[in-house]
């Protein structure tokens, strides 16, 4: 294996145009947040039945994908796979960028974002949410250190340790994110220990899909070589992760289907009239899982364009998954009286399901978070030596037969 040379990208016109577009999205997102905060959340699609709306779909997706984006680095460092090592810097930066994007959305969607300092100083240690604040902060710190050990020869001896710590931390972090939902005892769609490992596997899938798209875009746009064998490795890995996530989804629903107490909930999600049923089957299962699997494991999987399509579909499926999990989970009314029906209620206990239509500002805020993540990556590859000048197969894999 030749020594890998990392260089920053050239800042041509396209680069600044990209910065500009992303900047506009960020500005729009800030404006949307201000609008919602100023008026109060009644101007959004949210209400007292659906208290977490589209911004949470974006935020949780980005946070889950963040820890998954670090996997490429972890496979190199923790599991010692040489071909992944040159990708580690981009992987680490992308992970932090996605996390920041998600957290910005989460913060700006709070009822009182001005009380960030309260959230940082008052801790209820029984709250998995409070733990997550620590986990997010720690993730950024540990990944930054990890990146430092990759880039600075003087601290190279801590590289393994930093990589291992970041890997363990990211597993705990996504376990914490999944547990936000898994720990909710009162709702039919949550309250399941499987949510934590399911989110971990989903993070593998979403994070790698984003990484693949960013990697292909960066190498295509900067005209750097990107090896076929490396790409095949990554797309095969994506297939395994997508199948793994689908496995957890199947187990989750099958187990619910076995328990009579969950039949109403499953009927609502799997066979209901609400939009969530369509999003589940078309978005999460078909477009988000089966079609990408078909692409990745067929001959189409050898084409870069099709790998990009599969990655984009996995990301789409990720949003669908978060939609069904977060919005769908809230749409199903609380079961106050098992075995009985609420005939009438002063507060929507008697509906088949709660509806939620996202408002435009919520969408803009969510997209703003995506833009924050992307702009961070774009700036980072410009100012830091993150990308290997070449990812041609002969340059990354000691065993590659040219």
């Amino acid at each position: 294996m030749k020594k890998v040379r990392y260089t920053s990208i050239d800042g041509r016109g396209g680069f600044y145009a990209l910065l500009g577009v992303l900047g506009l999205f960020i500005l729009a997102g800030l404006g949307a947040a201000y609008y919602m905060e100023h008026n109060g959340h009644w101007v959004t699609g949210m209400d007292n039945q659906t208290v977490w709306g589209l911004p949470h779909v974006f935020a949780v997706f980005l946070i889950v994908a963040a820890s998954g984006a670090l996997n490429v680095a972890s496979i190199g460092t923790v599991f010692g796979k040489a071909p992944y090592k040159p990708l580690a810097r981009l992987s680490a930066v992308l992970a932090v960028a996605l996390l920041v994007g998600g957290l910005v959305v989460l913060l700006l969607d709070l009822g009182r974002p001005d009380r960030l300092i309260v959230a940082m100083t008052y801790y209820n240690f029984k709250s998995i949410f409070a733990w997550n604040i620590i986990l997010y902060t720690g993730f950024m710190g540990f990944v930054a250190i990890y990146l430092w050990t990759m880039m600075d020869r003087t601290v190279r001896k801590y590289y393994k340790l930093a990589g291992f710590t970041a890997f363990i931390w990211r597993l705990i972090l996504t376990t914490g994110t999944g547990s936000i939902f898994g720990f909710l005892v009162g709702r039919q769609g949550y309250d399941a220990a499987i949510m934590a490992p399911m989110f971990v596997v989903m993070s593998f899938s979403f994070g790698l899909a984003i990484f693949l798209l960013v990697l292909m875009a960066a190498y295509d746009w900067t005209g750097r070589p990107l090896g076929e064998a490396l790409l095949m490795r990554l797309k095969n890995l994506l297939g395994v992760f997508v199948a793994g996530a689908l496995y957890f989804v199947i187990v989750f629903h099958l187990t619910n289907l076995y328990a009579t107490e969950h039949h109403d909930w499953e009927k609502f999600i799997l066979m209901g009239e609400s939009v969530h049923t369509k999003v589940f089957w078309l978005g999460q299962v078909l477009l988000g899982s089966l079609v990408p699997l078909g692409i990745l494991y067929s001959k189409a999987g050898r084409s870069r364009a099709w790998i990009a399509v599969a990655s984009a579909l996995v990301i789409l499926g990720g949003f669908a998954t978060m939609w069904v999990t977060i919005i769908g989970g809230q749409s199903f009314p609380l079961v106050l009286f098992p075995g009985m029906e609420v005939v009438s209620s002063g507060y929507f206990d008697d509906v088949a399901y709660h509806t939620y239509s996202p408002s435009f500002p919520e969408l803009v805020l969510g997209l703003g978070g995506v833009a924050v993540a992307l702009i961070a990556v774009v700036v980072a590859v410009k100012v830091l030596n993150l990308l290997p000048s070449s990812l041609a197969d002969a340059d990354v894999d000691p065993h590659h037969k040219g």
Binding site: L116, V342, G346, D349
Partner: protein, 250 residues
Amino acid sequence: MSDPKKETMDQGRRRFLGAGAAAAATIAPGVTLMQVASAKPDDQPVSDKNRWGLLIDTTKCASGCDACVQACNEEFNLQPQHGPRTDPHWIRKVEVRDTATGRTFSLPMMCQHCENPPCADVCPTGASFRRDDGIVLVDRHICIGCRYCMMACPYKARSFVHEEIPEEDKNVNAPRGKGCVEACTLCVHRVDKGRQPACVEACNGDGHKAMIFGDLKDPGSEISRELKKYPSTQIRADLRLNPGVFYKGI
């Protein structure tokens, strides 16, 4: 870092009246002496020697009557603004039909003041908390409006303040503010003065007498004696949250 829970409790303590049980009796018509005797004497601090609770008799609760809801809205000046989906609901009436038996009944739902409140478990800052005497509250000064407590509450008992509260609607009985979560306080401002919650008072005043308020830890209180004598149910008892609100006839 000061302890927010303590602060709120102190506020509660400071707000007591000089007059005791007698004052409460005149303020709250229809309240029996027994019930007043079970309320907390004004000069005692909040302690885990009491646990305040409610017993609601669904066989007496009239379908269509919402005196309790009206009283609550009045007590806290909960005004409708942009529609029922976002308006505050601290208490609501629910009509239920048992599909297995065909029986129907009516009841008020509100914060169940759990012994193990999921809202307080999940609250990142500790703004949601349970007072020593069992009343579950939101400290609106450290609530960041994350709404995780609303995700966690099995009873949909909480409301998010979706809009600015007009100055003229602001109320001394509980501080309220845009972007924070709020819920039934079991009329802690009244309880701390030895009075009954507004909903209970209204139900009694209305003649239905479907609600009994009292100290679950005082074996001599009316609520304890009734609970010991007659069957009662806690809603979603399977969750083992041990709510302070009991229902008869479910």
